[in-house]
């Protein structure tokens, strides 16, 4: 029973990370019709950037964090202004799979390559923000970094929900997602929301990278794995529904932990992916894939 409890805690912690990346992917997909396959790479840059500035360059930790987040935000802004602007706002607006997948896919490669140049290929992590041994409650163990991840997920997830649900900006966001042409006609600047959410989710991803990296450690290639899981969880939420993406992320995290603990530590992930593939094939419509395709 205690094993189950600890696995559940671990599962919810990783699930919360997946959930947040899934929310980032699906919120931006609603606005832009682009799947951000580089979201995990921003997390990697966050973790390795803070590590580099703090450990190698010797900057104070808060300064290192602020500088890293500023660089991520500035890069995301410039990328939107140059690449996405030419691709989507130009005289010949591109659409289809080229835009949906391949620009952010190229971006992911580019970021990973630059990270390899700057940070090398070793495993590093941002310094722990809350030092100390793991907390225990009976025989249940809570990693401090894990608790921080959960806290961030609740705060940022809650802020997202409040923003979408209760503010005019959130309504506009929803409208842009439902029908971008219609939204533009009623005076909503969908391009501004595309840029805002892209920069915002990049920064959120970087924050999660910083908070989470003491748990697992990051290399320049870690981003792709995170993006993949975020993409999958967003996919199971039908890409356009952040709430469902969040649940799907938690579900995948818990399932992964349980499979690793009870089935096989070695083949747990293989079984996980097989189950996820089977789910898509069994209920594509119910999981929201069909609507994501035609919409």
């Amino acid at each position: 029973m205690m094993k189950f409890g600890n696995l559940l805690i671990a599962g919810i912690t990783t699930g919360a990370i997946y959930a947040m990346f899934a929310v980032c992917v699906s919120v931006w997909y609603r606005v832009s019709n682009i799947l951000n396959l580089a979201v995990g790479d921003f997390a990697m840059v966050g973790a390795l950037g803070v590590d580099n500035l703090y450990r190698v360059k010797g900057l104070p930790l808060p300064v290192a964090i602020v500088c890293t987040l500023l660089v991520v935000a500035a890069f995301a802004y410039v990328y939107d202004q140059i690449v996405l602007r030419i691709a989507q706002d130009g005289p010949q607006r591109m659409d289809g799979i080229v835009v949906t997948f391949f620009f952010t896919f190229a971006l992911s490669f580019f970021i990973d390559g630059v990270a390899k140049m700057l940070f090398g290929t070793d495993v590093h992590a941002a310094p722990a923000l809350w030092n100390g041994a793991s907390l225990s409650l009976g025989s249940l163990h809570f990693e401090r970094a894990g608790l921080l991840v959960l806290a961030c997920a609740v705060i940022i997830g809650g802020a997202f929900w409040v923003y979408i649900r209760f503010t005019l900006g959130g309504k506009a966001l929803e409208a842009s997602g439902e029908n971008s042409v219609g939204a533009r006609i009623v005076g909503i600047d969908t391009r501004r929301y595309r840029r805002l959410i892209f920069v915002g989710t990049a920064v959120i991803a970087a924050v999660f990278g910083i908070v989470e990296s003491p748990l697992t450690g990051f290399t320049y290639l870690s981003g792709a794995t995170i993006s993949l899981t975020g993409f999958l969880a967003a996919a199971y939420g039908g890409f356009r529904k952040p709430g469902r993406a969040l649940l799907a992320g938690l579900f995948i995290g818990v399932l992964e932990a349980m499979l690793g603990g009870y089935v096989s530590a070695e083949y747990g992930d293989t079984v996980l992916y097989a189950i996820l593939a089977a789910l898509v094939l069994a209920w594509p419509r119910q999981l929201g894939f069909e609507s994501a395709v035609s919409g």
Binding site: A106, F109, V280
Partner: protein, 626 residues
């Protein structure tokens, strides 16, 4: 009129002649073969040549991807896994059974094909993103399996003793050059097969499938079968590339099957040009040579690939192939070497956009006898279409309630009703894209309730859509020819030998001539006016000589004058076939229809002739307003 038909026939024959002069697919094949052989013979023993051979192994894979992913837009992430199947298969047979690579390769290919069919019959049930996500799991599962299994060499990789060149006593240089030539020969074969398929009538089917699966099904394309064939083709090409990789590199690394390898293949395809076979080959060459070009590039290949892909896609989404094509089109008139393309000539003549309907009278002539065999006995006494107490519920919402109606062999019938009455749903139930919750759809006495849309199309049910569903990027002629393809029963492999695209185009140009639209044949569809686009849809629906023509709001968006022209066409059509029309324009409906059904909240509330229709209080209160 006859003259026009004659001239369009002549032009079809002329294009058939041009096609027979240079066999389909020969140009890219010859290009690949000649360049490849020259390269291998001159540099085969040096580094530059070995990079070329490695790139050729990848190019075999990307040529298959151009057909499957680029052209038909079936995004399945199965290539790296099947490259692994091919490479590990050859390595195992060579190492454990001492089998020469050239003998192991066909065995592995047959095994891969069987595995692909098995796997494909499960995963290709999914479409679009669902297919992408389901197959994304394949490399993840594969890499987990390979790193966990000692049998395949695990993370270390699997070396194999044999070389691709069969003779083990041959010197290293002979083995290198000979092996390289074998790879080039197989690459040329792969390019030939891919190019032949893309330029055939099935290539047109695949294009439509890539643009919109539902439209493809409504036009008679057997989408499940085509998707399975594409998946299998992609997998077999990948396995062949993998087998060649193992044979020439004599080593299979674990990284061959991981997701990064899959992404690298996609980068090659998209840089080269996703829809072009030769582009896919060039993409593989570019990436491999970049990696071999300098140490800096090879260390920072991710940055280079990321930048290159971004820049190429920004310049042209069709990749390097698209850039070259645009460049040639730009250069040609400036050099004055070649005559302007016929499409451009047509465009110049077409600026004024003359009336789409030059002479609709020809429609009154009896159509060519429809294929009797496919329809069973044609007894004038039996009704063509019977809808028997059809219900349709979405969740708890009832859209159709006990709808029963019968249509005869010929005539024009209209379906009216306020928005949300269930008109389009009823049309979808007849067309087959929406299954009824209860009730039956009978065509000429045969129950077709459970038949899929493409089968109904071949039984003579043809339709247009409420919003225009034309295939962008193709000419008017090809858009109509899609409905005339005789390839629905044929397998994709038969089109390597023979294409029937010219026959389909000839039939399409007759249908266009029928509507007086043959002058538009060469135009790209998105350059047309809405009226012309609707007429192209109509031509497409008519071209296969359907028995039942379902038209969903053909007049919407048309002016009064255009509607009158449409009315003339519809009246002419009704003399040879059964037309069932959903329409909001009550004047048009009352003018052309011999019988009108009014649907309200899913029920038939009126059924009668145009005179009753005009005077009916039910109709007035529902449709005209009090």
């Amino acid at each position: 009129m006859n003259g026009l038909v004659e001239s369009s026939r002549r032009s079809a024959q002329r294009s058939a002649l041009v096609a027979s002069r240079v066999p389909r697919g020969l140009t890219p094949t010859a290009l690949v073969a000649v360049v490849g052989v020259v390269f291998v013979l001159i540099w085969g023993q040096q580094y530059a040549g070995s990079v070329f051979v490695l790139a050729a192994c990848y190019a075999i894979v990307t040529a298959g991807m151009a057909v499957q992913i680029g052209f038909s837009q079936q995004i399945a992430f199965s290539q790296s896994v099947f490259m692994g199947v091919g490479a590990y298969g050859v390595a195992m047979l060579n190492t454990h059974y001492n089998m020469p690579v050239l003998i192991a390769t066909p065995i592995v290919l047959v095994g891969s094909a069987l595995l692909a069919i098995l796997l494909g019959s499960v995963v290709t049930r999914a479409s679009g993103l669902a297919l992408a996500v389901a197959t994304l799991m394949l490399p993840l599962i594969a890499v987990g399996y390979v790193s966990g299994t000692g049998f395949l060499g695990g993370a270390v990789g699997a070396p194999l003793p044999g070389t691709l060149w069969p003779s083990s006593s041959a010197s290293t240089s002979v083995a290198l050059v000979g092996g390289g030539l074998i790879v080039i020969a197989l690459l040329a074969l792969a390019v030939f097969i891919a190019a032949r398929i893309l330029t055939s009538d099935i290539g047109l089917e695949l294009f439509v499938l890539g643009v919109d699966e539902r439209t493809a099904a409504a036009l008679g394309v057997r989408t499940p079968r085509r998707k399975l064939e594409l998946f299998t083709l992609g997998c077999v090409f990948a396995a062949l590339g993998g087998a060649m990789y193992a044979g020439t590199q004599q080593f299979v690394p674990e990284t061959l099957v991981d997701p990064t390898a899959e992404l690298a293949l996609l980068i090659m395809l998209f840089i080269g040009g996703r829809r072009s076979v030769i582009g896919a080959v060039v993409g593989a060459l570019v990436i491999q040579y970049l990696q071999g070009a300098s140490n800096w590039v090879s260390v920072n290949i991710l940055v280079v690939e990321g930048l290159l892909l971004t820049v190429v896609l920004l310049v042209d989404p069709e990749g390097l192939a698209g850039i070259v094509t645009t460049g040639i089109a730009w250069l040609r008139p400036r050099l004055g070497a070649a005559p302007a393309e016929p499409t451009e000539a047509a465009e110049v003549a077409e600026v004024a956009e003359p009336a789409v309907l030059a002479e609709p009278g020809v429609l009154a002539e009896p159509a060519e006898p429809a294929d009797e065999g496919r329809l069973g006995a044609r007894d004038p006494q039996t009704a063509l279409l019977e809808i028997r107490s059809v219900f349709k519920e979405y969740g708890g919402l009832s859209v159709l309630e006990d709808v029963t109606l019968t249509l005869p062999e010929r005539g024009l019938f209209a379906l009216c009703g306020p928005n949300g009455a269930g008109k389009s749903t009823l049309l979808n139930v007849i067309g087959g894209s929406v299954p009824p919750s209860r009730g039956q759809v009978i065509l000429s006495g045969a129950d077709i309730t459970r038949r899929p849309p493409h089968e109904r199309f071949h039984l003579g049910v043809s339709r247009t859509f409420q919003s225009v569903h034309l295939i962008k990027g193709r000419t008017v002629l090809d858009n109509v020819a899609v409905a005339c393809l005789a390839s629905h029963k044929a397998s994709i492999t038969t089109r390597i030998a023979r294409s029937r695209l010219d026959q389909a185009r000839a039939q399409a140009s007759r249908a266009l001539a029928d509507l007086g639209m043959e002058h538009l044949a060469g135009r790209e569809v998105s350059s047309l006016t809405l009226e012309a686009q609707r007429m192209v849809e109509l031509a497409r629906a008519l071209a296969p000589n359907p028995r039942l023509l379902l038209l969903d709001e053909p007049a919407s968006g048309l002016s009064q004058e255009q509607r009158q022209r449409l009315a003339v066409v519809l009246a002419a059509l009704a003399r040879r076939t059964c037309v069932f029309l959903v329409e909001h324009d009550l004047t048009l409906v009352a003018q052309v229809s011999e019988r009108i059904f009014v649907l309200s909240a899913g029920r038939v509330v009126f059924d009668g002739g145009p005179d009753d229709f005009r005077s009916s209080p039910v109709v007035n209160s529902l449709l005209v307003g009090s």
